[in-house]
Symmetry: C2
Subunit: 341 residues, 2 copies
């Protein structure tokens, strides 16, 4: 039961350790037939290189950078904290993680940031705006050999090697199904509030939501989308207006941040109980609102998972190791009052 080492393989193949190492790491020319002997021995003994020893010997270090939006969006703050937590934990694994905050909503700024960090890092994870300028910056990084993972919001047309985030159109569809089922056979209007219609995640959620609403629950009518820029005060204003304009409003789906504004508006109108309200992202605020019944469902993406997954992917890309796909799928969490973590 002892460990199979490279030496055992050499012995089994009747070759030297040096030769085995040469085929394992493609270091120098080896005759094909010799390589075959090595491979046979490896299979026979079921040899698996000791990754601990390998990484120790190579002294390999990973340098990654996470680029997140600055500002006071609770979810993004949590994401930043997860990055920091991961960074300190990974030091003992020889992984160094830096965190940069930028105005990701401004394509030029974001692109400039990405352009400037190419040479220092082995990999970059970024919450990216889907904009030609940003796409170019991402492609530039990739071409310089830096692997890029998009986080939370994707840029599918770029050459990024992975997207660590939820499927946002599924999230929108999920919200619609729950909204429709919760409302049952009631009739009325449903409002949709989005942060910004230039962020891909919000667009996709809206798309998914409307798709299912139109097909499955045609008796509910959707109001025109309101844009909130993820600022709770603005959210409150537009929500209050919507409530005033539509006494028959029975559902609200908030695609972005700023839950606080909706809660306040609903409370001011005294209509918390009449309106089914579905929010995104579990924060202190949405949590409290869910517990007290103002929010009915929270659709969430787990920031910790996303960060850890991004790191795993970046590591795998860095040393060309295959991914375990199933492990990197970020699920859409649904929270009702009873399954809060």
């Amino acid at each position: 039961m002892a460990r199979v080492t490279i030496e055992d393989v050499a012995l089994e193949a009747g070759l030297s350790v040096a030769t085995v190492d040469r085929v394992l790491n493609g270091r120098a020319a080896v005759r094909p037939q010799t390589a075959l002997r090595v491979e046979k021995a490896i299979r026979l003994l079921n040899y698996q290189p000791d990754r601990l020893a390998a990484r120790l010997a190579k002294g390999q270090e990973y340098r990654f950078c996470f680029v997140l939006p600055e500002g006071n969006n609770s979810f993004m703050i949590e994401l930043g904290e997860e990055v920091r937590a991961n960074a300190s934990r990974m030091v003992s694994e020889r992984v160094h993680i830096d965190l940069r905050l930028t105005d990701v909503f401004d394509a030029a700024t974001l692109a400039a940031t990405l352009d400037s960090i190419g040479d220092i890092y082995d990999g970059v994870a970024v919450v990216a705006l889907d904009h030609p300028r940003v796409r170019e910056a991402i492609n530039g990084l990739v071409e310089r050999g830096v692997s890029v993972v998009t986080l939370v919001s994707d840029v599918p047309s770029s050459k990024r090697s992975h997207y660590a985030g939820i499927d946002n159109s599924s999230a929108g569809r999920t919200a619609a199904t729950l909204m429709g089922r919760y409302l049952g056979n009631k009739n009325g209007k449903v409002g949709l509030i989005a942060g910004s219609l230039s962020l891909r995640d919000h667009i996709e959620r809206r798309f998914g939501f409307e798709q299912v609403m139109l097909h499955e629950f045609p008796h509910l009518s959707i109001l025109p989308v309101l844009e909130s820029r993820d600022d709770w005060q603005r959210v409150e204003k537009v929500t209050a207006q919507m409530l005033a304009d539509h006494p028959d409003l029975i559902g609200i789906y908030n695609v972005g941040a700023g839950a606080r504004g909706i809660v306040t508006a609903l409370e001011n109108a005294g209509r918390q109980k009449q309106v089914t309200y579905i929010a995104h992202e579990l924060t202190d605020y949405t949590r409290r609102a869910l517990v007290d019944g103002t929010v009915d469902v929270i659709i969430n993406q787990n920031a910790g998972h996303e960060v850890r997954s991004a790191v795993r992917v970046l590591m795998a890309k860095a040393d060309r190791t295959p991914l375990i796909e199933a492990m990197e799928h970020i699920r859409i969490d649904i929270f009702v009052r009873d399954n809060l973590p």
Copy 2:
């Protein structure tokens, strides 16, 4: 930016590597003041021992055993596959995992299995029946220095060091909330089917479900629990009977396995659309039923997560490393048609 090694610490503290090592690993007596000097140097340099090197040097191997139920329950089969997948992946990390299938529903058999494996393993993960005999067996393992993690179903009164699974009473409450909200203001009866009322997870789900139903949705009446032993043919029989007896049945919550039986019974009665059906565990079967609308909601626990979490916990226990609690929390997944993975 080079790595801080134990040598740097020794230099900084004006001591020898040997002494620093003594402090780090509590190998021999060291004067308190000397220890303080070492600790100060460690803090100053922010020294973090290289885990790779440490594990390589110690030549430490972990030997774990997973004890799962035999039989053809889809979820348990998936769990077994996850164990196997993990086992082969972890070889390169010096972790050896064995898998044993037992009749976990028979306390004596399960206890005997647990009793017999004590000396070979550093840790055991077990899907355990909550029974005095089993509890004793678990405690016996713990006393012999084997850490034990309960998987999927807990034995809280035992000395197990961790439970890797979902909070089942929360799961039950979640099912009730969704059932109540989906049914809206309809009136009628709700049936509850359990696999076995001696498995703790089923008991807790039932408890949670009934609790919320009684308090939040008193207009819905719950039928007496039916026991199915997780066998789909039996499930079908009792469901068919229930449908025949109660024409006003509008909801079914199946706490255990055997979704297939319910689907068949509903189809035979032609009442798929009239009955809101909430099932547990995402399998090929429940998945298909969810897509075609027979099942309305699936409550799931992620087998892969549970297995990986159990392994991490066992490793942490084996070398007395602290756990990252948040990472080991197993969430209750809710699936509707739109957020299937």
